[in-house]
């Protein structure tokens, strides 16, 4: 509330090369006023008026203070950003800090106003502090991109050393005293998504096909195991390869007709396929259990040798007796953890190796330029079909792991949002980057998991985070690719051609 009056009297102060320009007050105010007007229109119907359920039907109540607060926040935020851009970073920093301090110290009539002062002041202060320290009002997109490219290149270089460390860390994790049930569960969840991300990376990152229905293969894998176990009593170790095969088969089945389509059409058909699979699972209730799903899916045994229960079934040894250990329910969790770790690493190893084989090279060539590769005699359909089937197979493995870990599956677990999350992991991390998938999974799955208490706001922040990361770095966080193969002494071409 104090910002404009104080700022009006403040002398232009800031980095020398921008201070020379006169500050355009009326322009900044107009700009901020327009932003505030838009905020007003946005918030009046939806934030200002809430529907409430009354016994007599729907009612409505007004929340004018939240509208006023959002409009003020947008106005001063926009004004502050505009002034930072014109070299007034230092005064804005002080005023924003003052506003935040006022919000913290002085009792205010409403909590909303306090939130606005503290949060808004804090964010603007951060932005201003950044501008003051770097003497730059704003990095241009190209500069930021170059900077991030360097970081990504360094990270990729460092992956050689980080990866073994991370691997050893992951292997040793269950043996540390830290490892309780909760941590291992989160570890399993993260590894499942890392595996799915690596699997989808084959289609999206290597072959350059935008697949919006990857979760369908995950579902096929999960239901294959659950149904085979339910109707035929087959064990997990028999079903795992079968689930992979069935998922790969469904990948071929879908891929065959649609792989001729290009770009976005392909994306929308895969989305449709994902929905079809889900609808079939819901509606074919005689076979799949419908919306209620399948429960009581058997847990995996220790490679068919022993079971992880205190009292194993007839003819089976108990794991703790076999190894002479004290019985602990944690054994099964630890085993699951190693199982998904091994599966995920297998996908990673496969991807790293296949890039060097003709198939992988053909994928990357197709991704870069489809027509040129077709002219050089690459069979487009077969190559894409292979990518699709292989990725589907890994999705199927992950799915059957998911089924055996949960013990219960229902179509609810295989909605479009899952596909979107997996795709987001691949794209946010930087397409084609194996390390990027890991980083993005930690961000996308790990962070919300850490803030589970904020249940309602989790997905809100998730959506906003996807937008912000894309704005900040459109090619994905760690998008930096050296070509897998270079001619001797050949010059490296510019990076990132893939993502066109």
């Amino acid at each position: 509330m104090t910002m404009p009056s104080h700022a009006a009297g403040a002398p232009p102060h800031g980095a020398p090369h921008v201070a020379a320009k006169a500050v355009d007050w009326s322009g900044s105010l107009r700009d901020a006023g327009f932003a505030a007007f838009v905020a007003l229109l946005l918030t009046v119907p939806l934030v200002g008026l809430r529907t409430i359920d009354r016994p007599t039907g729907l009612g409505i109540e007004a929340r004018p203070e939240e509208v006023v607060a959002s409009v003020l926040l947008v106005f001063f935020g926009r004004l502050g950003l505009g002034l930072i851009g014109q070299g007034l970073a230092l005064p804005v920093l002080f005023l924003a800090l003052a506003a935040a301090a006022v919000g913290l110290a002085i009792p205010l009539p409403t909590q909303v106003l306090r939130l606005v002062l503290v949060a808004g002041g804090g964010i603007i202060a951060l932005r201003a502090a950044f501008a003051v320290t770097t003497h730059r009002s704003k990095l241009t997109l190209a500069e930021r991109d170059r900077k991030m490219d360097r970081v990504a290149a360094q990270v990729q270089h460092a992956t050689k050393y980080i990866a073994p460390v991370a691997f050893i860390g992951a292997v040793l994790l269950p043996m540390t005293p830290l490892a309780d049930r909760q941590l291992l569960d989160i570890g399993i969840l993260l590894l499942t998504y890392i595996m799915l991300g690596w699997g989808l990376n084959i289609v999206v990152g290597l072959a350059g096909l935008l697949d919006l229905g990857y979760v369908a293969f995950y579902a096929v894998g999960a239901y294959s195991y659950a149904l085979l176990a339910h109707y035929f009593g087959l064990s997990f170790w028999v079903c795992l390869p079968l689930a992979g095969l069935l998922a790969a088969f469904s990948g071929v089945l879908l891929g065959f007709p649609v792989l001729r389509l290009r770009g976005d059409y392909f994306a929308i058909v895969t989305l449709g396929f994902g929905e079809i699979v889900r609808i079939i699972l819901v509606n074919w209730y005689q076979f799949t259990g419908g919306p209620n799903g399948i429960s009581g899916i058997p847990r995996p045994s220790f490679f068919g040798l022993a079971e992880f229960s205190r009292t194993p079934a007839e003819g089976m040894a108990a794991f703790h007796e076999l190894f002479g250990l004290e019985f602990s329910p944690l054994h099964r969790i630890v085993f699951m953890y190693y199982l998904i770790l091994a599966l995920a690493l297998a996908v990673n190893l496969f991807t790293l190796r296949i890039r060097k084989l003709p198939l992988g090279r053909a994928w990357e060539a197709l991704r870069e330029d489809e027509i040129a590769s077709a002219s050089l005699g690459i069979n487009r359909t077969n190559m894409k079909l292979a990518a699709f089937a292989i990725a589907a197979m890994f999705g199927g493995f992950a799915g059957s792991f998911f089924a055996t870990r949960q013990g219960f599956i229902s179509p609810e677990s295989f909605t479009f949002i899952e596909s979107a999350i997996i795709l987001a992991i691949v794209v946010l991390g930087g397409m084609g980057s194996q390390a990027g998938v890991v980083v993005a999974t930690l961000l996308v799955i790990g962070l919300p998991e850490a803030f589970r208490e904020l249940a309602d706001y989790r997905m809100l922040a998730f959506g906003m985070g996807m937008v912000v990361i894309m704005l900040w770095r459109p090619r994905g966080l760690l998008a930096h690719r050296d070509p897998t193969i270079l001619l001797h002494g050949g010059k490296k071409p510019a990076t990132g051609g893939a993502a066109r």
């Binding site: 994306a267 449709g272 794209v427 309602d456 937008v467």
Partner: protein, 301 residues
Amino acid sequence: MEYFLQQLINGLSLGAIYGLIAIGYTMVYGIIGMINFAHGEIYMIGSFVALITFLALGALGITWVPLALVVMLAASMLFTSVYGWTVERIAYRPLRNSPRLAPLISAIGMSIFLQNYMQILQGARSKPLQPILPGNLTILDGAVSVSYVRLATIVLTLALMIGFTILINKTSLGRAQRACEQDKKMAGLLGVNVDRIISLTFVMGAALAAVAGMMVLLIYGVIDFYIGFLAGVKSFTAAVLGGVGSLPGAMLGGVVIGLIESFWSGYVGSEWKDVATFTLLVLVLIFRPTGLLGRPEIEKV
């Protein structure tokens, strides 16, 4: 026969709604070549704004139905357009020259954001509303009855389509819009403010989606924060079916999908109607990849 006519009218009104949403997809795809994934959410917002306007009018004591409907329509179109404009400004414009996937991911993020935004603000429970426009028109000696709402939907959609076609084909704004669709750079050189035209495209799409949202509220009388996803996917299907970039195609695709859904529910069973829709999409894309009314795309090397 009567049953057939009944389903035909249901299908036409449903198709009109899909068509109105599909126009937003097809125009945005035509001009900047991206799937505006958040468009289904824009339609959901339109529906909610209409509901809230109606409740607010009721709280103010205005219950005269024609006035309420006009105010609902106006408010819903206005506020939803602002949402459409803001989404473009925040999430898509900075990504104009980015890799192709970036705006799509941004749009998916926006869609998730808007869904949860609405869930937090207005609650997750579905919102029932008593019929605002009850009553039926009976024709053929009472064998077929058409509710006024469905009739109004078809008439309003027709009127909007005529107005919209004139807007695109006759006004300078429409000319600029078509010019940008063909060649943004050239249009810019000739003095068209390309950014403004793109913004307006989003605003027009959002306004039409708002009408669809309001009509769904009136026909079915119940909405929730999740309605945008399936309607969005089906409308995009309609846009692809009709040929992406073609306005009459979007409407035709919407009507085809509406009819299929309606007849499938009427004669086969409502459980599998979505499968029928998506199967049709796959078949059309395989045998006629440019859609029913689309121009063939020429692959440039």
